[in-house]
């Protein structure tokens, strides 16, 4: 059936259709297309099986891993189909791989660190974390790095290796959180009275949880003040409000109760301890001087 049709076509075109190269190219294209479909199916199956266990970070990395490895495998098969000598290519790739490996040590380290982070799962997408003094919401988690969105809406890229090496504080892992408020009062104040006022302020604050009970302690004798700590527990979502309301309510209550919050001060003594500092009236001194 095909011969009459080919005979009707121009000679160059029928030669092209009968050439081996065309069918090899078609085969390679089919392999690539099949590869894309297989990768998509594999991704879905893997996510269904491993997704719940891996968490959002693991899922993201698994998807990328399947995609990159799948495409690499499909490309090798397609090149093989075209008839390229894969042995020579892979040999060259091996040599190049060693060179690239030396050059890309940091990237490899980041990738391997990424795997450790997947296993450990110290945070998830949307968590608020603190790394090297930078706080923000985990925006994206990649093979090489993590992107943090800071509270003033900057995007900070942190390499995975850094996350493994340094202290990472996950602020939102637990549903409740304690806000510590340190306050100092004048030495004249009654410690018991201050403690009861702190207790009352925490009980009346709307964001402060009744349980766990607030931590209210006398922390010691400071240079200029008696120091106290009020540690009030709240829901994660109430933390911002509590941080704003509690210090204000405490200051207002201290003002009502006449409790003084002192500023740092220093007592000067001349010579013998606590002897008064000699004061000389400047005007008299001026009069006594001739001229």
């Amino acid at each position: 059936m095909t011969t009459p049709i080919l005979a009707a076509l121009p000679a160059w075109f029928s030669n092209f259709l009968e050439s081996e190269t065309l069918w090899k190219a078609v085969g390679a294209a089919a392999i690539l297309l099949g590869g894309v479909i297989t990768i998509t199916i594999l991704n879905r199956v893997a996510l269904r099986i491993f997704g719940p266990r891996l968490g959002s970070q693991g899922v993201m990395v698994l998807k990328k891993l399947i995609r990159y490895l799948g495409f690499a495998f499909a490309c090798i098969l397609a090149l093989n189909q075209i008839g390229l000598n894969l042995g020579a290519i892979l040999g060259a790739a091996g040599v190049a791989g060693i060179a690239i490996g030396f050059a890309a040590q940091t990237s490899l380290s980041n990738i391997i660190s990424g795997f450790f982070l997947i296993g450990e799962r110290p945070f998830e997408l949307g968590d608020i974390i603190e790394v090297d003094g930078i706080s923000g919401t985990v925006d994206t988690i990649g093979l090489l790095s993590l992107t943090l969105r800071t509270f003033d809406n900057r995007s900070v890229r942190i390499p995975n290796e850094t996350l493994v090496k340094t202290n990472v504080t996950n602020v939102t892992r637990h549903p409740i959180r304690r806000f510590n408020l340190d306050v100092g009062v004048a030495y004249d104040e009654n410690i018991g009275h201050v403690l009861s006022v702190l207790r009352d302020v925490s009980e009346k604050n709307l964001q402060c949880l009744d349980e766990p009970e607030s931590l209210i302690i006398f922390t010691g004798f400071g240079d200029s003040s008696l120091n106290f700590r009020l540690g009030a527990w709240c829901l994660q979502e109430d933390y911002g409000v509590l941080r704003n309301t509690l210090p204000r309510e405490l200051k207002e209550r201290f003002d009502e109760e006449g409790i003084e919050i002192p500023f740092p001060h220093m007592t000067l003594a001349a010579g013998k301890a606590l002897a008064p500092i000699p004061v000389r009236m400047v005007a008299d001194a001026d009069k006594s001087q001739p001229g």
């Binding site: 637990h174 549903p175 409740i176 009980e203 709307l206 964001q207 402060c208 949880l209 009744d210 349980e211 766990p212 009970e213 931590l215 302690i217 540690g231 527990w233 709240c234 829901l235 109430d238």
Partner: protein, 243 residues
């Protein structure tokens, strides 16, 4: 209701609701014109049709479970039982007519309740805390009119005396009944088992106890009526304070 004042306005094809607490503004008449209301009121607004005019106010339970603590703890002997009355400040659900149907517009608590946590520091749920409203006897003057009275009958099935210091109550399966101007819920009975990990069985009665057994149901239970349930660690004081 209680310390809560509520203004409801139907204006410019909108329902408008505003609330304020006693003492925030000078005393206002129960009925009057819009001009009588303080100008600084903050309004919430909902769109409605021109002809919509019906409105309904319904009492409801707070949106979180509660933890009730009696003024002082009580020891319940093995095999013994104790009846408690717990007063829970009602919320007001405002339903307004929107296109011929009554739609819930908002829910407002009559009293601001303090929050607490039921669970450990990694897992649990937020609750409201009631400090002094679990009483052994019902004296009408003890309870403000905006409280919903819940009767809880505790039965100690264990072999040791049970110290009752706190009670976690999930309010989803309680209905609200009206009787002589007061709000009641259906009664419940909680079996205190030996092993706290097993949970505590709770049985819901169809209505309040005697002498208000003939009360009329005003609002259905949010999560539907059930007969039995299990309260996980209903009495547990689970938080260890490590500072």
């Amino acid at each position: 209701m209680g310390p809560l004042n509520l203004a409801l306005l139907r204006r410019h094809d909108e329902w408008r609701v505003s609330t304020w607490e006693d003492g925030e503004f000078p005393e206002l008449p129960e009925e009057g014109d819009r001009q009588d209301l303080p100008a600084s009121l903050e309004w919430e607004r909902w769109d409605c049709s021109d002809d919509d005019s019906r409105v309904r106010l319904l009492p409801s339970f707070p949106d979180l479970p509660i933890i009730a603590k009696p003024t002082t703890s009580l020891s319940i002997a093995p095999g013994g039982n104790a009846l408690f009355y717990v007063g829970i400040p009602a919320s007001i659900e405002v339903h307004g007519e929107c296109g011929a149907d009554l739609r819930k517009l908002t829910s407002i608590s009559t009293e601001t309740l303090s929050k607490t946590w039921h669970g450990d520091r990694s897992e649990g749920e937020p609750c409201y805390s009631l400090r002094t409203r679990a009483r052994r006897h019902f004296e009408p003057e003890d309870w403000p009119g905006h409280d919903i009275i819940v009767t809880v009958d505790l039965y100690n099935e264990g072999e040791d005396p049970f110290e009752f210091e706190r009670l976690f109550l999930d309010l989803e399966h309680f209905s609200i009944f009206g009787h002589e101007g007061r709000l009641w819920s259906n009664a419940c009975r909680i079996r205190i088992s030996e092993d706290e990990e097993e949970g505590n069985d709770i049985t819901y009665e169809p209505g309040p106890l005697h002498p208000v057994a003939d009360a009329t149901e005003i609002a259905h239970a949010r999560a539907g009526t059930i007969r039995h349930s299990s309260l996980r660690r209903a009495f547990a004081s689970v938080i260890d304070v490590i500072n």
